[in-house]
């Protein structure tokens, strides 16, 4: 990525998401929480899920991290609301798979697609995957 491209990316996609992250607060109540922590760099978020009749009704997050991890989790939270835990597992699986794949993979969600296109971002892929990995691990190990 050239410097100009990096600036464009941040100006158009990452910084707006950062300034207005989706549901970036600690909610009063949560059915369960997931910790997303990268011990190499210190990024740490708590993800708050509310579930009702087998569907996720809301996802909030709060914590500290870089612009990329924050933007990525913000996009993730929005995309996961109203899904079933099963669909969340599939979604996070697909996202991680897309990030690890050599060839590009399409996603109907424009913002998720934007994140997936950053899979060659030197040294920063872990930032983008942070929240998604945490969700994937949680739901894979949960009894659904």
């Amino acid at each position: 990525m050239k410097k100009q491209e990096l600036q464009q990316l941040f100006k158009n996609e990452i910084l707006p998401e950062n300034e207005n992250p989706y549901h970036f607060q600690e909610p009063q109540r949560a059915s369960f929480t997931i910790e997303a922590y990268n011990s190499m760099c210190g990024d740490k978020y708590t993800l708050y899920f509310n579930i009702n009749e087998g569907h996720i009704t809301s996802v909030y997050f709060y914590g500290f991290g870089c612009a990329l991890s924050k933007a990525s989790i913000s996009i993730m939270c929005k995309s996961m609301e109203h899904l079933s835990p099963k669909n969340i597992t599939t979604l996070s699986d697909q996202f991680i798979f897309a990030m690890d794949q050599e060839h590009s993979t399409e996603n109907a969600d424009k913002k998720i697609q934007m994140l997936q296109q950053l899979k060659h971002f030197d040294g920063r892929v872990d930032c983008i995957k942070l929240g998604w990995e945490a969700v994937k691990n949680h739901f894979e190990n949960a009894d659904l």
Partner: protein
């Protein structure tokens, strides 16, 4: 007859060579515009180091200590000569105080396992500081948990200086070791080792100094520092990866037990019982990293050629210059303000995470580190999640610090 020596770059190291330091590092031929400010993580490799290593690998290679033939004898001699040279570099005439390890982390773990563990009893304590690299923290924490020993962590003040009053109080009859770094790899604080070691010595407490960040440009060694264990890594002083030093004071040489077992460390092996050689030969089980040792010896020669005191003043000058220039960047916070600091500066920019700083500066050819720098307890104590860190070496100059400042200013403008 192939004469390799003729092909070597003949390095004329004279008094002025700080000015020419950059020319000894081929990395800057490959990347002429690189502003490399991550020297606390690893320094660049000097040409003479690579030459010495590859000369051995290509033309002199044989396993040591075991052959009767010429090549093996010569390799052994070279290996043991390196030990003597390294001892001399550490101000000692006794090569038997010097053991080769894989690096600082390995050296510290060896002290934990082969010296400290056998003498710990429940109720004892180990003193270290909140500022240590994980390499000088976790080995003691693990011992403390396993042997029901108290781990005492000397706190810091808001400037990033150690609380020496508390340190003095921590040292008592039950203290089995004081383990402390010379220079903090996150804040650059130079600890007043003279004073600290004196406190421990008055109570006859053995002292380990983690010299990973100071070995290059301070007069170090168990004798000059009056400590008992000294550890450092080759790769932070222009040498190879995977080689480091553990030096032990004569007082404790006999207390260093073998910690992994195999060939090369034995006096006699019977089916019933094995007896071992003395330190340092009781540590080198298996085949050591011979070319690494030869590379390390070449690195020390390179350092001596330039002169530690010249290196020290150069780093000091750069540090002061950076501390003077960086505050021009709007929204910058320099972390800590220790009484003495050298070579390393951590900072944060308002509203910009260190990782994002590193990604943007990377586009301007500036290499710096972002994160916790393997010092989580320190960052937690200071209420920080991460920092950006610049660290200097002999090939850096003021022009590069100017570039850093320009890039940071541009980033702040872009972000806001």
């Amino acid at each position: 007859m192939f004469d390799f020596a003729e092909k070597l770059v003949i390095l004329k190291l004279n008094k002025n060579s700080i000015k020419k330091a950059r020319s000894h590092f081929p990395i800057f031929e490959a990347h002429p515009n690189l502003v490399y400010l991550d020297n606390a993580a690893t320094t660049q490799r000097a040409q003479s180091v690579v030459n010495a290593q590859s000369h051995f690998d290509l033309y002199e290679n044989a396993n040591i200590h075991r052959g009767i033939y010429d090549l093996s004898n010569q390799a052994t001699q070279k290996f043991e000569n390196a030990r003597t040279e390294i001892a001399r570099f550490l101000g000692s005439g006794n090569a038997n105080t010097v053991a080769f390890t894989q690096g600082t982390t390995a050296s510290i773990n060896i002290v934990a396992q082969s010296f400290l563990a056998p003498r710990l009893q429940a109720g004892d304590n180990i003193v270290t500081t909140i500022m240590e690299h994980h390499a000088n923290f976790i080995p003691w924490q693990m011992l403390a948990q396993r042997y029901q020993v108290e781990l005492r962590l000397v706190p810091i003040d808001k400037n990033g200086d150690l609380d020496l009053v508390q340190l003095s109080k921590f040292l008592d009859k039950k203290t089995k070791l004081l383990a402390i770094s010379h220079i903090s790899n996150t804040l650059g604080t130079i600890h007043p080792l003279d004073e600290i070691i004196e406190l421990a010595k008055r109570k006859d407490i053995p002292v380990l100094v983690d010299a990973a960040q100071s070995a290059c440009h301070f007069e170090i060694g168990v004798d000059p520092l009056n400590c008992d264990f000294l550890t450092f890594s080759g790769h932070k002083m222009f040498g190879p990866f995977g080689i480091g030093i553990l030096q032990v004071s004569e007082k404790y040489l006999a207390d260093m037990m073998p910690h992994n077992y195999g060939g090369g460390i034995i006096k006699d092996v019977k089916v019933e019982k094995t007896s071992f050689r003395n330190f340092p030969h009781n540590l080198d089980a298996g085949t050591p990293n011979v070319s690494g040792v030869i590379g390390l010896a070449a690195a020390l020669k390179f350092i001596s050629g330039i002169g530690k005191s010249d290196m020290h003043s150069h780093l000091n000058k750069l540090t002061l210059y950076a501390l003077d220039q960086l505050p021009q960047v709007p929204g910058i916070e320099i972390i800590g303000n220790p009484k003495k600091r050298i070579g390393i500066i951590s900072f944060n920019l308002k509203n910009i995470h260190p990782h994002d700083i590193a990604s943007f500066l990377n586009k301007d050819g500036i290499a710096l580190r972002a994160g916790m720098h393997c010092t989580q307890p320190l960052l937690n104590a200071m209420g920080l999640q991460a920092t950006a860190r610049v660290s200097f070496s002999i090939y850096n100059n003021e022009e590069e610090i100017n570039k850093l400042v320009v890039s940071l200013k541009e980033l702040m403008r872009f972000w806001s």
